[in-house]
């Protein structure tokens, strides 16, 4: 090989050779078609995304609206029912309408209270528009617990707060059975847990009727 043959190839010669390779037929068309497909897929994804976002926002707005609309009504329902119950209890205490037969409890699936409590009242009453069973329990210390037993299928029928105070009384809402809600009013000197324990003993999960 001569010296001339060992001279390097020029850049321009190389460029010409590199550039001489043809592109596949239809490459540009394919690339544009791919781009078109890619954009369509992207648009479809955007549509779904926006649709989902819109739906989520709509649901959130409705939930918020429901809370805003229902919350005042919920609060009003609590105040209203507690007010009616409190007035009813006050009337019953003043009226001394004491039931003479505690067997009445057994016929309604309610167990007798522990020995340190006695049944002072056991009767059907009307609180507002609600038919309830009123059970008044007292102990030796003259402490009193008034149970207003509502027969409701679920919480939807009993939309009030869980606890509160009215006058000198505390009250709690207890749901011992599927179809039973209790509003318990009691003296400030009695604890919530004591009332809950008492209700647990009187209202078994499984109703045991006695004649």
């Amino acid at each position: 090989m001569s010296d001339d043959n060992k001279m390097p190839v020029s850049d321009s010669k190389l460029n010409t050779l590199f550039m001489s390779s043809p592109a596949p037929v239809g490459l540009e068309k394919n690339l544009k078609q791919n781009l078109s497909d890619q954009i369509k897929a992207e648009e479809a994804r955007f549509s779904i995304k926006y649709w989902q976002t819109g739906l989520a926002l709509s649901v959130a707005a409705n939930v918020l609206l429901a809370i805003l609309v229902l919350a005042p009504g919920y609060k009003a329902a609590t105040v209203n029912l507690i007010e009616q119950a409190y007035l009813h209890l006050h009337h019953e205490i003043e009226g001394h309408s004491i039931a003479d037969n505690t067997a009445w409890l057994g016929r309604r699936g309610i167990q007798m209270p522990p020995h340190d409590y006695r049944v002072a009242i056991a009767k059907n009453c009307l609180v507002g528009t609600n038919h309830v069973q009123h059970v008044r329990l007292t102990n030796a210390q003259q402490q009193a617990i008034n149970l207003l037993v509502f027969s409701k299928d679920d919480d939807k029928g009993f939309p009030i707060d869980d606890m509160g105070e009215k006058g000198r009384q505390q009250w709690i809402k207890v749901h011992p059975r599927k179809d039973t809600h209790i509003l318990a009013f009691f003296d400030n000197t009695i604890s919530n847990s004591e009332v809950n324990t008492l209700i647990d003993k009187m209202f078994d999960k499984t109703i045991k009727y006695s004649l």
Binding site: M1, D4, N5, K6, M7, P8, V9, S10, D11, S12, K13, L14, N15, L17, F18, M19, S20, S21, P22, A23, P24, L27, E28, N30, L31, K32, N34, L35, S36, Q38, I39, E42, E43
Partner: protein, 186 residues
């Protein structure tokens, strides 16, 4: 279709038209497989569309596309192994039969390129096929300009050796430094 998307699409179609050939040739000389090169170009535009917001300077679109292509090619190497076979036995992939009459020279170059390392092939194409300056290559590869110069020098030497040793057909000529080369599309 949103206005922005429509505008982007028009822009991209223009870039396909202008740059696809340059990208294809780079991929072809890197892989020496027309099917692989075509895949790489398609992958490049796909990725570029998804990453279009990352393009900072629209005056450097080709550099940007080329960077994506080069990464795609290197990924191909990783996936298919270092040896993407040169189409030595059927070199028609590399040869423009109608456009370039001296097929012998082209075939010699194909064989010589095969002997180069991937990085040498890559930098040689940036410099000689696309005509990027040392500074531009330095920016694209993110390496110092001195490294670019020495690497190109070594790549050229290796190519010349390969051509002189194994390929008698490529006509030798006086060295012409091509700092600012031809347009990127053709």
């Amino acid at each position: 279709m949103p206005q922005v998307l429509k505008r982007d699409r028009e822009q991209f179609e223009k870039w396909v038209q202008e740059y696809h050939l340059g990208l294809y040739r780079h991929a072809l000389w890197m892989t020496s497989r027309s099917d692989v090169a075509e895949d790489c170009v398609q992958e490049t535009y796909y990725r570029a569309w998804n990453a279009r917001k990352s393009l900072k300077d629209k005056n450097k679109v080709f550099s940007w596309l080329l960077t994506i292509l080069r990464r795609t090619v290197y990924k191909e190497y990783e996936q298919r192994g270092r040896n993407i076979e040169f189409t030595q036995d059927s070199p028609t992939d590399m040869i423009a039969i109608d456009e370039y009459k001296d097929q012998g020279e082209l075939l010699d170059l194909v064989k010589a390129m095969k002997t180069l390392s991937t990085s040498h092939r890559d930098i040689l194409l940036l410099h000689t096929l696309h005509g990027f300056t040392y500074q531009e290559i330095s920016d694209i590869l993110e390496i110092p300009m001195g490294t670019v110069m020495s690497r190109i020098s070594r790549a050229r030497a290796a190519l010349d050796d390969a051509l002189n040793t194994t390929t008698p057909n490529v006509k030798k000529a006086t060295v012409v430094s091509l700092k600012q080369g031809p347009s990127h599309n053709e």
